[in-house]
Amino acid sequence: MTNLLILLLLPFVGAISVFILGKLNSKLAFWGAELIGLTLFLITLKLYFDFSEPLNMPFTWFHLASLEIPFGIYVDELSLVMLLIATGLGFLDIHFAHDYMAKDPFKPRYYAKVLFFIGGMILLVSAKDMVSLFTGWELMGLASYLLISFWHEKKEPADAGMSAFLFTRFGDIFLFAAIGMLFYLTSSLDLLHLNTLASSGEIDKNMMYLISLFIFIAAIGKSGQFPLFPWLMRAMEGPTTVSALIHGAIMVNSGIYIVARLFDFYVAAQTLIVVAAFGAISAFIGATSALVQTELKKVLAYSTMSHLSLAFIGLGAGSLAAGMTHLVNHAVFKALLFLGAGAVMISASHVKNMWRFGAYSKKILFVSIAMAFGALSLSGLPPFSGFYSKDTIIATTLLNPQTKGLISTLTLIAGVLSVAYISRLWLLTFSGKNRDAALFAKVKKPSFFWIILPLLIMAVATFLMGFTQEGIAKLVSGSDFQKPHVEGLVFGLLSAITLIFIIIYYYYVKRLDITKKLQHKP
């Protein structure tokens, strides 16, 4: 219990301390944040290894006449996995920022906001009831606004921060309304209790349908799904380390987490098909848009939208394990790809346009290898982690009569197209000939300890996670998981991946002259 309390409070106390210490000496801000990040991860690891049964801390915030407003904490296997992602990737992100933010004069403010952000996520995934969940949800929303608009003296980041704030707040209004309705109908805000009430049919079906849709609107706002995704692309104006946190490790996962946490509620409300339908549309939009982007980070941003949609589709098709396993895998390989993009940008004088890169593996070999691991996992190639979850999601949609048809087709297209855009990104950046000799001459090797090491750790993690997928599926779903099987699916997928890679290789390496004519002229 003490460890859990430290885990909940340390990020917020740390944020204030880091900010004050950083004012005395900016190096102290980094070291303070690094130490706190590491401590948070170690505490989470200890909680994970000591775990035998869920940690339950019911707490009443205040009484108002007969009303009792709770603020409880509950940590089970699902929360622990999310905590491991948030603190583990959060720590690596802070470590990476040592070099990425080295020249920034406002480092104390940056590290304070990052810790505040991580604190919001920890509270969210440890929430026992809707009140503590909503508090974590809003704290994280505020932190994302502050981080995206970190360079607020420039117009674009300031606008991007405002855009993120408005889009996510739009969804939050619905979440707030849903909480109010739930409290009115059930007098309970406990997440597990709500699931039980819904499963036993004690809540009116129509109201359940409406409430679950309201919560889903909030989820699509936070997770950048159709139609509330434009903020996710604009969020690229923030530091790349922030993009890695928002797009990979922390923020966008919260929308999926809330649906997963209320999974039984969604099953009883019969709204999973809506989740799957919106997921399929988002997956298709994200995958097709990622195919033509010219900026490194924009490709990854659309890819985030598409892959989170796959997780939503997994949940929508009725498989908690498939959706959440993909979420976990995605968190790791997307954080790796974003930080890899950051490493490329550090090396290439902060240029983002991939058409100015080429043959960078000659200069930054380790970054190219690490990003190749991330790309292979994202493509869904065995034995990388993405293979298992992507294959499971597609198989689930094909086996579920409700999702078989248009939803499964869109899922399949989005899943296969991910190979196209990520191989395009990798080939344009690291292989072929360099297309900007002046820039190429200036490319410098990033620091091994601060930049490459976190990338390699994540690359190894995404590879090894491919061998522990059943364990992860069991952890996140709380029961044994049997992977669904569709005859010929794996062979079909692998053939499609190979074919698409050959086409992309031909058009982006061999015949770049044809492809270049088609590229967007800003």
């Binding site: 139609p227 692309m233 939009i285 097709t288 848009s289 982007q293 088609l518 590229q519 967007h520």
Partner: protein, 92 residues
């Protein structure tokens, strides 16, 4: 091909549609209508009440002679009216 490329590049113009909807439907149509109602109905009703009170005040001021007996008489009439209202409400 180039048009398709541009549509994909701009994320199917979803952001454009959202801005269009927010600006033209919410701000220019809905918000303007509500604003018109606020100014021409709600504010107008409040202003009318103020104007009526002001006119009545002006009218009554003409009858004011500054004598104590007049003021106490007016007060007494007011108290009687109030008691009458309370009595009627009590019976009802």
């Amino acid at each position: 091909m180039r048009s398709l490329h541009t549509v994909l590049f701009n994320g199917y113009y979803i952001e454009f549609f959202i801005h269009y909807f927010t600006k033209n439907i919410i701000f220019n149509s809905l918000s303007r209508t509500i604003n018109w109602m606020d100014i021409h109905i709600i504010d107008a009703a409040v202003n009318a009440t103020v104007n009526i009170s002001f006119s009545l005040n002006k009218l009554l001021r003409k009858t004011d002679r500054g004598l104590m007996s007049d003021n106490s008489g007016a007060m007494l009439i007011g108290v009687v009216i109030l008691l009458f209202i309370i009595l009627i409400e009590g019976i009802a």
